[in-house]
Symmetry: C2
Subunit: 118 residues, 2 copies
DNA sequence: TCCTTAGTTCAAAGGTTATTGAACAATTGG
DNA sequence: CCAATTGTTCAATAACCTTTGAACTAAGGA
């Protein structure tokens, strides 16, 4: 069961921008960028939204071509499609990530509201 | 009658990205960038949408802090807020404009569908 | 003054997006 | 096998976004 991803040249600029125009998804991308190379599973993002809602947002990111999701057991390994994005939109991801890093209003991954109650 | 604009530090990354995630608005920004320094009035964009609809999209761009609109007579002079955007989100506007320049799917300003029938 | 030009505002319609809970599927460990 | 873990799908809802036409305002020229 391989999930559908656009090829690099199918990635659309307005769709990518639209998908990144959501604080939850931007926070996901920022976190992925901060741990680049380390594939994440969905559970890492439970600080940001419910399991169901994450499934929705992660699908949006995948369908837009921002992330790659591969199924491993019952888990999903999620990575940023940096190479493809850099090729299609040079400099875009870097500037978005840098700007997102400065954004105090974005929700945080790891400043666990949820981990307290766990 | 001065129209409301956010100050530079009120400009929000996700809101800017969301606003740019619309092909009509991205086409407007691309065109403004291609004529930077030359202030445009709304009429320039009638290739892209109806007068009413342009009013809506241009308001979105203004409210997000992407453009500045000043009223001169019955006209509006529209400019890109390049300095403010570069300060808040270094490199973002340049990479978006460069990528938009390559995007064949974006609507065009000046390849007049409308001018033919006029 | 009257007409035209440039844009806005309003309300309505239709579409898309985000969020939720309940139910489901699939893998893994005991 | 049983139960827990991981995540998806579905239907419902509420919110928001886009587009439209009709009516409007405000300035400028004849």
């Amino acid at each position: 069961m391989t999930l559908p991803h656009p090829t690099a040249d199918q990635i659309s600029l307005p769709i990518v921008l639209g998908v990144l125009g959501d604080p939850t998804r931007l926070a996901i991308v920022r976190y992925l960028a901060s741990k680049e190379g380390v594939p994440m599973n969905c559970g890492k993002f439970l600080d940001l939204a419910s399991k169901t809602n994450l499934s929705y947002h992660l699908a949006k990111l995948r369908e837009a071509g921002v992330t790659r999701t591969e199924a491993v057991g019952t888990s999903r390994l999620i990575t940023l499609r940096r190479d493809d994005l850099d090729k299609r939109f040079p400099g875009l991801l870097d500037s978005v990530i840098a700007a997102a890093g400065e954004d105090k209003a974005l929700p945080m991954v790891g400043t666990a509201d949820t981990e307290i109650e766990a």
